[in-house]
């Protein structure tokens, strides 16, 4: 316990108040630890603003969400009308609603950029594995939050999107149908589904999300940030124990972030005020038709931020299963033949592969599509252990690694685009190739990330004064 600190009776009222609080709550201590004496590398580039921006979007979503809940009715008969009521009769309701709907897409934009930053600079590498795991948890919670929130306007896309995704769960062997029933609370998506999704969207998932965000930041501030050079700045300190390449977060990065926030708000407002539908990508046109359980839309597509993973789902057809079975067998043979390990492990791997192949033959491709979609997200959790590169940052990796990362990004955009499109033969083939590339990038990473000539990592960060 800290000692009680007396202050001179001549001190100013402000100093006295702060002293009174500091004796009872670690206010100054927290401010120092997390702001004024939290040393961040001075070589951050533009990629480092998306963490702060995702926090900003989280606040926007919570605040606008609070006001929306004041007028929204989670009732299948009233939901669609209550959203139109917000758009028309609630003062400034249209602004609150557009901020929330645009915020949902903005959240995914900043989070995808934030995650890609981590990928480029190896921010998930030791000792930052937990920061990354909490972050992946946030991404997963965000997806759940967005999916359930999308049902609430109760338009055709809300309804049929939920119908399609919840039906996927019924593809799980044995427990599937009951699980889907449990999620829906009815045999089709209906009032019961709307009520439980509302409950999850406004309280359950946001609580998890906030908890994970706090854990993410605590873990980050314990270890300190990585940087574009992938150098540990704490390895080089001055006489006072302050990293030579570190600068106090406040005021340097707080002014940086305020600048970034104003630029972000400019773009955000341009969308909210001039293109809230974003050409049908942020607010889908079909969603202005009230949900109708008796009329299936011709083309059901999830909102853009889910489409890469939706493509992974659709790519797994019964034909594709043979390719995947081939991949499993080749993988098992290579593991047994090439990796040095006790023969017991080899036997386990060979046996495991045979069991998996048997299951792949026995269970419908639809289920494996669900596995691919889930796996596409879950695989991100394993990145800290998949990446074996001797350097953290892309800057010091071989050029062909950069090309590979570039190809990964292009592939992600392609499968994202294909997820918005109707099925066709050519699109299906490209989706399947894209799916193999997506998983190949991660699953083969333990090997390819070690290959090539790496550049010498300097001991101090690269920084040019601006």
């Amino acid at each position: 316990m800290a000692t009680f600190h007396e202050i001179s009776p001549n001190a100013s009222a402000g100093a006295k108040t702060l002293n009174w609080i500091d004796n009872r709550f670690p206010l100054s201590k927290l401010f120092k630890e997390h702001m004024s004496e939290y040393y961040a590398p001075k070589n951050f580039n533009i990629w480092y603003i998306f963490g702060s921006l995702s926090l900003l979007v989280l606040v926007i979503q919570i605040v606008t969400g609070i006001f929306l809940v004041m007028h929204y009715k989670p009732d299948a008969a009233l939901a669609f009308g209550s959203v139109e009521y917000i758009m028309r009769d609630v003062p400034w309701g249209w602004l609150i609603r557009y901020m929330h709907s645009t915020g949902a897409s903005a959240f995914f934009v900043v989070v995808y950029l934030h995650m890609f930053r981590g990928l480029m600079y190896g921010s998930y590498r030791k000792p930052r594995e937990l920061i990354w795991l909490f972050g992946c948890g946030i991404f997963l919670a965000l997806m759940a939050e967005a999916f359930m929130g999308y049902l609430l306007p109760w338009g055709q896309m809300s309804y049929w999107g939920a119908q399609v995704i919840v039906n996927l769960f019924s593809a799980i062997p044995f427990i599937g149908p009951d699980l889907a029933l449990l999620i829906r609370g009815d045999f089709v998506v209906g009032d019961a589904t709307l009520n439980r999704f509302f409950s999850f969207h406004v309280i359950a998932v946001p609580l998890v999300l906030l908890g994970l965000v706090v854990a993410h930041i605590i873990a980050l501030h314990e270890i300190g940030s990585n940087n574009p050079d992938g150098i540990e700045i704490k390895a080089t300190k001055d006489a006072n124990g302050i990293p030579l390449d570190g600068i106090p977060f406040h005021p340097y990065y707080s002014v940086h972030d305020v600048f970034a926030v104003s630029m972000f708000l400019f773009v955000f407002s341009a969308i909210v005020f001039f293109a809230p539908e974003m050409g049908g990508y942020f607010l889908e046109y079909n969603n202005f038709i009230p949900a109708n359980p008796f009329q299936t839309p011709l083309h059901i597509a999830p909102v853009w931020y889910f489409t890469p993973f939706y493509t992974l789902l659709r790519a797994v057809t019964s034909e594709m299963m043979y390719v995947l079975i081939g991949c499993v067998l080749v993988g098992a043979v290579l593991a047994v033949a090439k990796i040095k390990m006790p023969s017991l492990f080899k036997a386990v791997i060979a046996g495991g592969a045979l069991v998996v192949v048997a299951m792949m033959l026995a269970i419908d491709a639809k289920f494996w599509g669900v596995v691919a979609m889930g796996g596409g997200v879950v695989i991100l959790f394993f990145l800290p252990w998949l990446d074996n590169s001797p350097v953290k940052s892309i800057r010091y990796r071989p050029t062909w690694h950069k090309v590979l990362y570039g190809a990964f990004v292009i592939n992600f955009f392609i499968i994202g685009y294909l997820g918005t499109q109707p099925v066709s033969v050519i699109a299906g083939r490209i989706s399947q190739f894209g799916t193999l590339f997506y998983f190949g990038f991660f699953l083969l990473m333990p090997w390819w990330s070690r290959l090539g000539t790496f550049k010498q990592v300097p001991s101090r960060v690269n920084f040019t004064a601006h």
């Binding site: 758009m87 399609v164 305020v258 400019f266 202005f288 011709l298």
Partner: protein, 229 residues
């Protein structure tokens, strides 16, 4: 919500699962859409569109989220709305309800005429804006004696709706009819989001403010960072 029987739900569930598995992608087969005129800031056009809407469309279609009072936004006075536009038994604060009884409508047309409040937003697509669709659709009717209504449509083949405006069309020159439909479509576009003009007007000021804020925060950032070598 209509209460469904257990068996019906099961059948529906199975039908939906099958339907989704083989998601049929027959894109709507209709004629290409013409570009609708944009008169969204022309109060006269919006008022004349509102008149056509109330006199013709509102007989069968509702605009269940649109209040009559909101018509003051397009320059009509409360008295003008009360005297000329209010359908029987409606009050000025009410939303626009169709004159027709929904069960009768279903019996006559086979479908319930859809609500038109946000129709202009819902009909946008690859072919153009929702206004383009409606403008082409309302001008796309032709005689077809094989249909129960005696009408068919180039943009929406086999549509259940008869050509409600045919008398109007035959009393007008093609140019005048296009003008009338243009006004109606602009009204529908406006009604789909009455705040849209306000939104854009405010947006300009918000962006000007934020541009100023960007300049200030940029300078602030520069002033602090000049110390960092």
């Amino acid at each position: 919500m209509k209460i469904m029987g257990f068996t019906q739900k099961i059948i529906l569930g199975v039908a939906m699962t099958l339907g989704l598995a083989g998601a049929v992608q027959a894109a709507a087969v209709g004629a290409a859409w013409d570009k609708a005129p944009n008169r969204i800031n022309d109060m006269g056009a919006l008022q004349s569109g509102a008149k056509v809407f109330v006199n013709y469309c509102l007989n069968c279609h509702s605009a269940a989220f649109m209040r009559y009072t909101r018509l003051t936004d397009i320059g009509l006075t409360t008295d003008q709305i009360k005297d000329n536009l209010l359908v029987t038994n409606s009050k000025i604060g009410d939303t626009m309800k169709a004159a027709i009884d929904p069960t009768q409508a279903k019996a006559w047309f086979g479908v319930n005429p859809p609500d038109l409040t946000v129709i202009a937003r819902s009909r946008a697509g690859a072919g153009g804006t929702g206004a383009d669709y409606l403008y082409s659709y309302m001008r796309g009717f032709y005689r077809d004696d094989t249909k129960p209504t005696g009408w068919n449509n180039h943009v929406f083949p086999n549509v259940a709706m008869p050509h409600v405006l045919w008398e109007l069309q035959s009393s007008m020159s093609p140019g005048e009819y296009d003008q009338t439909i243009g006004d109606l479509v602009n009204y529908l576009q406006w009604m789909a989001e009455p705040a849209q003009t306000t939104r854009k007007n405010i947006g300009i000021w918000v962006l000007i403010f934020l541009a100023g804020l960007i300049f200030l925060t940029w300078q602030l950032n520069k002033a602090y960072w000049k110390d960092i070598k």
